[in-house]
């Protein structure tokens, strides 16, 4: 009997709550945030989620939203799981989201074909399908500021410069430690092409997804092969484990390079020995920017954030801030282009194509020097922006290079082939019908 009462009570409460749910105000813009604070990748996902949420929340608290329109923020927990991600997408679809950011390549892929049908742009920031950089084929997908091919070419270029010219890499051996999945394998063809042209040798060390935390065999082979440089393409717990193993096996850390996904925690995993570990990055760390100080003032200090105070300004937190900067800028540009206050997904798609984050605009946003400029256009949804190299000094990341431009000519070849391939494989892939704005 008590069970029945409980059941009735629950049912009644649900119905009441359903009626009491506030209808979305007409003068607001709905921005769902797909986050993963649970699951195997929560270690990095939590900081990214905090950064994303806090920047947009700060805009709400400080400016009352964007262009006077409040943002309705809602997190949907994906746990980095494709099933739940797709469920999240379906559950937010009906609320007219202006943009979605899946934060997982696995979730991005099923959403790509739906974006153009549902008229919801997708922002997959430096992950997802690299070919989606082509705006003429993927008008609804954006993956700024650089593709993985750009990233690899930057690392090779940087190593070359250290050696005194790319041609000096001839005869060297470069190890490539990567997650054995589409993400980790994507740069391999480019690396092999570079190896053939320049004349260095490549040793591949694939790490299966289930063995991310156990890389002893890969590092044992690395000890045997003695690669002159090691480049890592990892994600989640793989990064921390790699740093730890590298330290343990005595690999010279200053020869160890990574793409842009490790965070502070991954480098800390290596202890004092991790000093000298280098990675690509495209935005600053730290809190020394007016906008981030505003986040501290308006959001974190008021207890509106889930982030602990010392995590604000860390690498992955700021990565989340960068992601939200792009969302906010897309909305702001959409308002400018259309003249409307309350924008829709279609408007934001146009807004994204008009993004022009030059130093002046960054200064205006209180993020001067936070990142290199980014210009997107109708045909270029990526920007192929330069990233810089940063080094772990034992306690924090230190920027050690100027922005490194990617080898555009090389990347272009890969990109064209991939985009053509995608459109060919998907017979009937719709031709772009969305008009380009004059400005872009």
């Amino acid at each position: 009997m008590s069970f029945r009462k409980l059941g009735l009570g629950l049912a009644a409460a649900t119905m009441l709550a359903g009626m009491a749910l506030p209808a979305f105000a007409q003068d607001s813009v709905y921005v769902p945030l797909f986050t993963y604070r649970t699951g195997p990748f929560a270690g990095s996902g939590t900081h990214i989620a905090d950064g994303m949420h806090d920047y947009l929340r700060m805009l709400n608290e400080r400016d009352g939203g964007i262009g006077g329109v409040k943002l309705v923020l809602e997190e949907c927990e994906t746990g980095y799981d494709t099933k739940k991600g797709v469920e999240c997408y379906e559950s937010v679809k009906g609320k007219n989201p202006v943009i979605v950011n899946p934060w997982s390549t696995g979730i991005t892929l099923p959403l790509i074909p739906r974006a153009s049908v549902d008229k919801i742009p997708i922002l997959s920031m430096a992950y997802g399908l690299s070919a989606s950089a082509r705006g003429d084929i993927f008008p609804w997908v954006f993956n700024p500021p650089a593709t993985y091919w750009d990233g690899l070419s930057m690392i090779v270029k940087y190593i070359g410069e250290k050696e005194g010219g790319l041609e000096k890499l001839k005869g060297k051996k470069i190890g490539f430690l990567h997650l054995d999945a589409a993400f980790g394998k994507e740069p391999v063809p480019l690396l092999q092409e570079l190896a053939k042209d320049i004349g260095f040798e490549v040793a591949l060390y694939p790490v299966a997804a289930q063995d991310m935390q156990n890389q002893s065999s890969q590092w044992l082979s690395a000890r045997r092969d003695r690669p002159d440089y090691m480049i890592m393409w990892g994600w989640g717990s793989m990064n921390g484990a790699a740093v730890k193993e590298a330290v343990r096996s005595g690999y010279p850390m200053d020869k160890f390079y990574s793409v842009w996904w490790p965070g502070e925690d991954d480098a800390r995993a290596g202890g004092a020995g991790a000093k000298g570990f280098k990675m690509l990055n495209w935005h600053a760390v730290g809190t020394n920017f007016p906008a981030i100080q505003d986040i501290q003032k308006h959001v974190v200090d008021k207890g509106l954030s889930k982030a602990s105070k010392d995590k604000v300004g860390e690498l992955l937190y700021n990565r989340g801030v960068y992601n939200s900067l792009l969302i906010a800028e897309g909305i702001a540009q959409a308002q400018k282009v259309t003249g409307k206050k309350v924008v829709t997904g279609e408007d934001v798609r146009r807004g994204m194509e008009n993004i022009k984050l030059d130093p002046a605009r960054l200064k205006e946003l209180g993020l001067e020097g936070f990142t290199d400029q980014l210009v997107l256009s109708c045909s270029d949804h990526n920007g192929h922006r330069a990233a810089f190299m940063q080094e772990w000094d034992g306690t924090k990341w230190v920027k050690i290079s100027n922005p490194i431009e990617p080898m555009t000519d090389r990347v272009k070849g890969q990109l064209e082939a991939a985009a053509k391939d995608y459109a060919e494989k998907n017979a009937g892939w719709p031709k772009r019908t969305e008009a380009c704005d004059k400005a872009s």
């Binding site: 629950l10 409460a13 649900t14 009441l16 709550a17 359903g18 009491a20 749910l21 986050t35 604070r37 649970t38 809602e74 997190e75 949907c76 927990e77 746990g79 494709t82 099933k83 797709v86 469920e87 379906e90 559950s91 679809k93 009906g94 390549t105 696995g106 892929l109 099923p110 790509i112 074909p113 739906r114 153009s116 049908v117 399908l129 690299s130 070919a131 054995d180 999945a181 589409a182 394998k185 994507e186 299966a208 997804a209 289930q210 889930k306 082939a417 991939a418 391939d421 995608y422 494989k425 998907n426 017979a427 009937g428």
Partner: protein
Amino acid sequence: MLYREAGQFKTNYVADSAIFPLRQDRIGLGLIIIAAYALAFLGNSFLLQAVMIPFLVFSLASIGLNILTGYTGLLSLGTGAFMGVGAYACYKLMTAFPEVNVIVWIFVSGFFSAAIGALFGLPSLRIKGFYLAVATLAAQFFLQWCFIRIPWLVNYNVSGALDAPLRTLFGTPIMGPNATPQTRYLVVLTIVILLTWLASNLVHGRIGRMWIAIRDMDLAAELMGIRPLQTKLLAFAVSSYYCGVAGALLVFLWYGGAEYDVFNINQSFFILFMVIIGGLGSLIGSFFGAALIFILPIVLGIVLPAIMSPFGISVGADVIEHLRFMIVGALIIFFLIVEPHGLARLWQIGKQKLLVWPFPY
């Protein structure tokens, strides 16, 4: 009250051995099927796309595993991989022969899965129980390795992903981004009903009895003239067929595109839990299990914030997620303690009690 056996007389053996001997059961089943079809026109796109389609797909996969584990007593941890074989086979077939209707390929892709399943089922003659589970685990890892390493399977696609091209049935798109959830739901529902009907005939007939005999005591079964090798391999093949079709439906009619990672070991466990919770050796249990494991968390995700908000408790998406895990976990333990034979057994007990109601016996 309405659920009474009284007055329904069987005058021949066929009627007596019918799967649904009670008129009320038959009416009930008919109503459920009609309601399921009606839902396509009444439900909104979230209900169809995010709840019903995956529920049906997982039910089908559970039926597949149930045939193997529940009816034949062979424990398998390779369900995810067998689903993957179906999905990849379907992709290869429909891109190689786009002129043939995709429905045909969905059904044919199951045969590829069946062949692979039978191959990995070969050791089942010699090894049993947990050891067989380990052998099927090998299938899981080997096949997953193939999905990553053989680019031919994805037509040398750089992203390594499967994606659903546009395909139509009677001129209506049923696959690809332009297919509405409604049409996709109708296609999935029809396929699932057809295959469930087929499975029901299989398990209630001679073949099903052979499987059950093998499950209950394979030595005795052998002495009675049932060939263990053929029977076990048939169970593997049929089970994998169902999983393969479910895999193809999962990728092409639900996700619309997926990576190899969808078919990982977690998927296998996910289906295994559904079978265990739903009830081993029961078709309706497969549906119950899928509902409890898949739909309940979604319902909780909607209901929990709604319960808490009137009390002024606003919780984040992550807390809801943790609560979902805890509640579903607790419920699984609760059901396993109360009824170790699964929800199907509870359902059976309930029906039995209704039949004799208001008397307790």
